[in-house]
Each structure stands twice: as C-alpha cells, then as structure tokens.
C-alpha cells in the first residue's frame, strides 16, 4: 500500500469513481424497476477482434455479450462486480492501492462472491477497464509481479520509491540479471535518456537470455536484450512499445518453436485478445519474429518433442485466429501440425553454445537488416 496522502481527489480519481458509480446505478435501477439486472460488455474472444488500421493493432470489434443475473454464473459475476466496485471506491477514497493478488485475497471475506482463482479476479478487473475505458491503474489496482529484465546500452531515469530521480544505464549499472522493469513504466515513472543500439531482442526464456548475455551478444550485435519471462506482462510490452516508438528501435522476438510461443509474438506485435481494449498502448506492430519456426525445426534439424493434444488444440485454434491469417503463419502452423513436433530455442545448443550467436541469429537478423 502506498503512503497516505492528503485526500484531495485527482481528476482521474473522480472519473473512476463516477464510472464505477454508473455501473452500480444501472444495476440498482434495473432491480428497482423489477427487471433482471444485466451488463453489456464487448466480447473478449478471438471472434471479436478487428484490425485497427489507425494503430495497426488488433482491437475489440462490435460484438457485445450480456452478463445477466438470469444465469448463476452471470449473477455471481454481477455480485462480485458490486463487491469490487465498493472495494475500489473505498481505496480511492482512502488513497490506497492494492495488487490484483491482494484483491483476490480480500475477496475471501466476500462469502459466496469470493473468487476461486486469481484469473477470475484479474478478468473482472479487465472487464471494468473494458466497460469504463479506464485503466486498472485508475482503479488503484496493479499487478503484483515485477516485470522482466533488460540488458543493453540504454540509459533511463526512474523515479524511485523515495521520489528521487535515478539514472540507470542498463548495461553498466546493473548485474548479470539486468534492469528489472517496474510495473509502471509510464513517463511519470520511467524516462528514456538515450540508447546506443540498433534493435531490441525480446527473448522468451531465461536460459536463452543468460546464454546471449554470457556470449556478449548485446555488445556484439549492438542490441538491447529483454527477457519476456514467458507470456510478457503489460509493463514489459509497454516498455517494448516505448523503446520502439520513442527510441526508434526495431523489436524482434526470439522464442521457442511451439504454439504458445507464437502467441507470445502475437501479443507483442499484434495485441493480446485479453487486452485488446488497450492494444494501441501495448502492441508493437513492427516487431519481427525471429523465434524457432516449424521450418527451422526442419532446416536446422533441431532436437524436438512431440506435440501434446493441448499443443495441437492450440495450433488449431490459431488457424482460426485472425491475427495469424497471413501466409507466413498459416504455413508455419500447418507445417508444425504436419511434422507434429515442437522445439525449444535452447535446442540450438545441439551445434554448440556459440551456434545461436554465431550462426542462427545472424542468419535470422541479417535479412531484416539488423545485423
């Protein structure tokens, strides 16, 4: 929790309180009028994402779903919404904030309305963003996880918890684990000073990130290494977007070769389905994919694992995902289904520890003009 300050509500806080009040008021009016309370929300499914030509990212379309008290699940979600509204209103009043995980635990006291998994509470927080077109930060909710790490010749200024400006060079002022991305990477918290690099390489796994650090790839290739830690958090994606927009650095994602890794790239480059309402803040449309493809598995004769039934299901789902409908992805997904195999990025070690930095990445990045 942040320290208490004088309770003068900011305009943003007022806006949030008004929006939340509006939701509760609508439910109240429906009940008072003898109606079944319901709430219309844009569907957050792959069937309802549309390409936004203005921002070159995928955003929600116009399909609406209804959350109605007529159904048990809907009624329960409406009750939870009321609890969450009250909780957020109280936080705003008292100038406090909480992590999403804290809210999940707070719900323990909500009896039948309590959340059974944190995904449920996270999802509801996103629902509120979608409905009010505000950000969860406006609701005093923040992710508990720290962001991922950065190593490379970028200098930035971060406002520390003591309110001081601290200048950090992400190559010289950090240890081998790199600079840790805070959950808030907006300008009021993190300011870029300068970057001496040609591009940003966003890496899925910690093992590969460490390999590239040990091999000194950031210096050899003049790039900034960002560890995504699997499916990247909002702040990691926001940081990539800002490095791309403000520092004019090309972004390339380097992942494993499996259906889940394809989705990591999609969320970095095209926008994630769950957060499509804020894709224009999070997605970097020019990001290139240099991860392991199905063709790479064949061409580099990489060690593989067989696809699990879940993997196959994920690939089939991607076949109907509008974000993957270009020729490149169609081919790669189909090939992967055909060969029924997947490979990790570390499988490149088959040819030695330096193979990834001496051969694979140059071969991938060269045609993009990045090496």
């Amino acid at each position: 929790m942040t320290k208490k300050k004088a309770a003068t509500p900011t305009p943003e806080a007022n806006k949030a309180v008004d929006a939340l009040y509006g939701i509760a008021e609508q439910v109240y009016e429906e009940l008072d009028g003898g109606q079944i309370p319901k709430m219309k929300i844009p569907l957050r499914t792959k069937a309802n994402i549309r390409f936004d030509t203005k921002h070159s990212v995928w955003k929600y379309g116009s399909l609406m779903g209804v959350r109605s008290a007529k159904k048990l699940k809907g009624a329960l979600m409406l009750l939870r919404t009321m609890h969450v509204l009250e909780f957020i209103r109280d936080m705003i009043r008292e100038n406090k904030s909480s992590t999403l995980r804290e809210m999940y635990y707070i719900s323990e006291g909500w009896d039948i309305a309590k959340f059974h998994a944190q995904e449920e509470s996270n999802f509801l927080a996103e629902d509120l963003e979608v409905i009010t077109q505000l950000l969860r930060e406006d609701f005093k909710l923040r992710p508990e996880e720290s962001g991922a790490s950065v190593i490379g010749n970028v200098t930035l200024e971060e406002i520390t918890r003591n309110g001081e400006r601290k200048r950090i060079n992400c190559r010289d002022d950090v240890g081998d684990a790199g600079y840790t991305i805070p959950y808030n990477v907006e300008k009021e918290k993190v300011k870029f000073i300068e970057a001496d690099a040609k591009f940003v390489l966003a890496i899925e796994t910690g093992g590969m990130f460490d390999r590239l650090v040990e091999n000194g790839f950031d210096e050899d290739a003049k790039c900034v290494l960002v560890h995504l830690k699997g499916q990247p958090s909002r702040s990691t994606r926001r940081l990539l977007k800002r490095l791309n927009e403000e520092m004019k650095l090309q972004v390339a994602t380097f992942t494993d070769g499996d259906p889940w890794s394809f989705r990591i790239h999609a969320s970095v480059a095209y926008g994630a389905i769950k957060t499509a309402h804020i894709s224009e803040y999070l997605a970097t449309p020019t990001a290139e994919f240099v991860g392991i493809t199905a063709s790479d598995i064949l061409n580099y004769e990489l060690p593989t694992d067989a696809l699990t039934p879940r993997d196959v299901g994920a690939l089939n789902a991607e076949m109907t995902d509008p974000r993957f409908k270009d020729e490149f992805w169609k081919n790669e997904i189909q090939t992967m289904l055909q060969i029924n195999k997947k490979a990790e990025q570390q499988a490149l070690a088959k040819y030695g520890l330096d193979y990834v930095t001496d051969t694979y990445l140059p071969e991938k990045l060269g045609p993009l003009g990045l090496m």
Binding site: D32, A69, A75
Partner: protein, 663 residues
Amino acid sequence: MPSTSIAEELAKKQREISVSEFFERNKQILGYDSPTKALLTVVKEGVDNSLDAAADADTLPDIFVEVRKVDKDEFLVIVEDNGPGIVRKEVPNVFGRLLYGSRFHSRRQSRGQQGLGISGAVMYGQVTTGKATKITSKVEEEDVAYQVELIVDTKKNMPSKVREDRVVYERTHGTRIEIPLRGRYVGGKQSIPEYLKATAIVNPHARITYRSPEGESTVFERATEDLPPKTKEIPPHPHGIELGTLMQMMKETKSYKLGAFLEEEFVRVSSRVAKEICEAAALDPEVKPKSLGLEQANALHEAMQSVKLMAPPTDCLSPIGERLIKKGLKNVLGSLRPEFYAPPLTRDPAVYAGNPFQVEVGIVYGGDLPPDQPVEALRFANRVPLIYQAGGCALTQAVANVDWRRYGLEQRGGQGLPFGPAIVLVHICSTKIPYTSEAKEAVATVDEIMTELDLALKECGRRLKTHLTKKAHRAKTREKFDIVQLILPRIAEKSAKIVNKKVPTLDATITKIMGVVWIDEAIAYDKKQKRHTVTINVHNFTSAGKKLNLHLLLPRGMEAKSFDPKPAEVRDDGKITWELKRVDSVAKSSITFVLDGLDEAEYDESDVYVSGINPGLVIGAEPLPGDWELNYADFEAEEAPTPEAEEEGEIDYDEAEEALEDD
C-alpha cells in the same frame, strides 16, 4: 419333474460306478466342474439347506458362513443356521444319503436343488479330500447337540458314520455343517461374497454373516422381520406336463380310472374336460392308468396339450414383492449411497406352457456406482442368485433387448447391456423355471417370459427416466433458487449501498427469473413413533396468483392421515386430491400429512401431479395422467411459461470465454 428325475437317474447309476467317476462324468450338471465353482456350489448347497430349514420352521434365518483355508487348495466350508435342528436319527440320512427327503414331487415354487443337494456336497468333499463331514445339530427339546462325522457309502447310498458324540451347543436349536473340500477361492462377480450379497438382497428376512479365508467378517443384516409367505403346492397343469413325468405319475397314482386320475391329479381339469381329453386321445376314461403303454401315454399327452383349458392358478407363486425388493436392495447396497431406487415392479402372474410364472424388476441408480461401466444385472430364479452363464440367460438378454437410451442410460446402438451407474435386478419365480441346462445356471428364452420381462424392464426404466427428468429440471431450477435467494438480495444490498439508496424490492425480478411454480416434498421421521411427517410445499414464483389442484399417489399399500389442509378426495388406492386455495405471487402454500408404522427407509417420495394449471409452469410435479379418472385436467388459458432465457441474438458473456493464454 424332469430335472429331478434325471437326478434320480444319476443317483441310481452311481451305485454301479465309483464316486469320483460319477462326479467326473456329471460335473457339469452337479456344479462341480471346476475347483472355483465347486467351492461356491458347496456354500450354495449349505445356504439353501439352511434357508429351507428356517422356512420350514417359520423362523427368521440367521446364517453363518465361513470359508477356512486349510491347505494350498483345501478348504473347510462351515455353514451354521438357527433352524429347528434335526433329530438325531435323521441327521445321517439327511446328510449322508443322496436325494433323501428332498422336494422331488412337490409342485410348488422351491429353491430348486442344484444337482444332489447337501449330501452331494458331502460326497464331493470326501472324494476330493478323503475326509468326513462333521455335522452338529440340536433340537430344542434336547439339552445337548448331536455331533457326527460321516461319509456317504456310495455302494449302498447310505451314510457311514466315522464318529459320533454328544456335545454342548450354544444355540437352543440349529445345525452346523463343516465340509472339507479341494477348491479354489476367487474374488470378483462370481465370488462367494457376491453370491451371499445377492442372496441377502432377495432374502431380506435373513441375517447372513460371512467370514472369509482372510478372517474378515461381513454381516448382511436383515431388513425385515416379516417372513416370506409360504408357497402353496398345486397339482400340475396339463399344458406344462412332460411325457416322462406323466408316465411316472400314471405309474404311481392311486386312481383306478384314467378320467379320475386326470381330474384329481391335475388342475383345471373338470370331469367334462377329462372326458374331452380321453376322447381326443381315443382312450376309455374307465381304463386303469397303470395299464397304459408308451404309445397310449403319448396319445394322452398330445390330447392334453390340445384341449382348451383355464390357465393354472397363480397363487402358488411367491414373488419377493415390490416393498421387499426395495428394502433388500437398500439394505445391501446402501453403502454405495445410490441416489435413486426406482420403485420395483412385480408383474401380475402369467403362464407359459401350463406353468405359472411371475417376473420382478428393480433398478438402483447413481451414488458410488461406476458411471462408465456396463450396468450390473443381478439375476435370480426362485430367490436363488444365478451366478454363471450370464450371456446365455434370458434374464440378461431381456435387459440387453431394451433400448435404454430412452430411459436415460447410455447404450451403443440401442442394444446390449447399457452403460451407466446402475444395477438392474431381475427375478423370475415359477413352479418350473425353464433352465437352459440341467446345471440350472441360466434361464431359457421362452416367448411369454421374454414379453413379461420386457414389459417389466420398460416400466421400471420409465420410473428411472421420470426421476432423471425431475432431477434435471430441479437442478436447473435449483440454480435459479440460488440466484434469487442467495445472490440477488446481495446484489440489491450492495448496489443500494454504493448508490446510497434504499434496498429495492425484488419480487418482480424474482418472478421474472424463476417464472415457475415449484413443488417440493420434505420428510421428517420420528424413530420412536415410527412416523413420517410429509410436507409438500407449493412456491409460486410467477408474477400472478395461481390456483391449482394437487394430486398425490402414495406408494402401494401405504395409508396417510392427519391431513392439513383436508383433501378434496382420498381414495383407497392411495390417490389423494387437494383443491388448493389461490397462492399469491411469491407466496408459498403447504400440505402436510403423516404416515405411521413404516421404517425410515420405506418412504422416500410420492408421485405428485397437478391439474388446473399449465403444467409447463410447474417444476417438481407431473401433469395429471389420463388414467387418474378425474376431470381435473382442464385449466384456464393463462400465461405461457416464460420463454427460455436469451433474447434474440444475445450472447452470454460468461459462457463466451475461451482459453486465451495470452496475458
């Protein structure tokens, strides 16, 4: 009866050959064709003997069974009962003489001795182990029990005593038999415990205690203190008689004239009919039956089949009965906590080839029964479990012939044993069960029997389906109950608090969500008074007041009293009708009554029907069926049931989610 006459033949023959050869030649028929089966057969003979002993003495059977492992493949089977005991001089004859004192010529529904009965078991024991069987028996009049160790002298078919003694015996009367034999002990569906369990189901008046070779004890407590009614003996019906038996009867009869013989020793034969038979056979009614040769007997037999006769009387049958089947199933299968015992069904008696028979069916559903296995078919013939030859048995085939998909069970292609968490009990009782073979392990497919079985299974299946449908309706409505009773009031309270207004009234919203009249039954039981207090609640969750009639069908043989409010009509057959006063929107109306003198498990629900209201609005009761013979079925035209949920094109947000896996 042909089966017994063959056994008699066997008994005669065995004098000429060695005992072991005798068993070897006839093992199929006798039930001793494998070590596994032999062990079960010996237990069966012992238990049958004990049940018969108790039945003869009108006592509630209390039977103890133990299988003790003596050596690698040698066992000692102990069966002890609380029967009247056997007087000293009869003990050796009962246990040491083949076919002594058995029920050969009785024409009543009997357990039907398998092979040679208890003395056959004694003999099998002596052949395989060389050891004698020990019998201890005490009659109430004696102070001590008589104990004897004996073997069967196979040359003379006489008992041969090895040792005899008088011993102190703890029970006032009863018999204990200890048979040593070679055999093999197995688990599974054809095991001794499964056989005893099945026996306990159809003999709910018996207490059976079993101790396994591992020393574990299982007790099947009795579920009722009522003895099954005694079966009556009846003479045979001309249509069911077989030639051999007819000839045997002619040889043994005391009648001097054929006409009198027919009239006296068969049912449904009047002097007019006897004359008709004789005419058809071209025989003189005055002729002496004993003098007839094979050809004449044959003609007589044919004539007997051709005449028109009344069906045989059926009061000689002793079905288990609907109440006791349910009790027996509940008692033995209760630990599986089944969710439903479909009310069992006892069909009216029918006749095949002059033999009266009756079929009974019960279904147990749900609970801990495995949901993905074929259902278990428990087969019984004259209260004896059938363990072997399930595939070739009419009882199994009848189950497989029903399309169970209609009744809520899975079945590939609508044929074969269905899959699902269910056990189907099928019982046939008859003065003569048509077995497929002398081994008496399976019932033959006789058209009349198949028809009766089919009707019984389908009716019981319908009862299961009714339950499942009701359950599905209730689950759906239960969900709505949760919404309106638990969730909605809290949404109202929270939203009112946030907008700082008073909590709104929810009645209109509740009726919009529910839109039904909900009927449920609550039962309270007072153990001391043996009294069920039944409350039927009618909740009106529609937007307008509702007037309706409620009809109740009590399970057969039950009588209700202390009605509140007074019913409009109470009939002898358990049909009760109430004309309820108007129930306001969001109000409740209740009916109570009591049932006295029943065990707690005996009543779990009545069939509830409604009339005078659109049945589509009602959950928890069926529309009044046409055969109720009442004119209640009409109802005023009124609002239709609320159309199901979604308005046109509306997508349920909370069901549209998919696994996104992208943060």
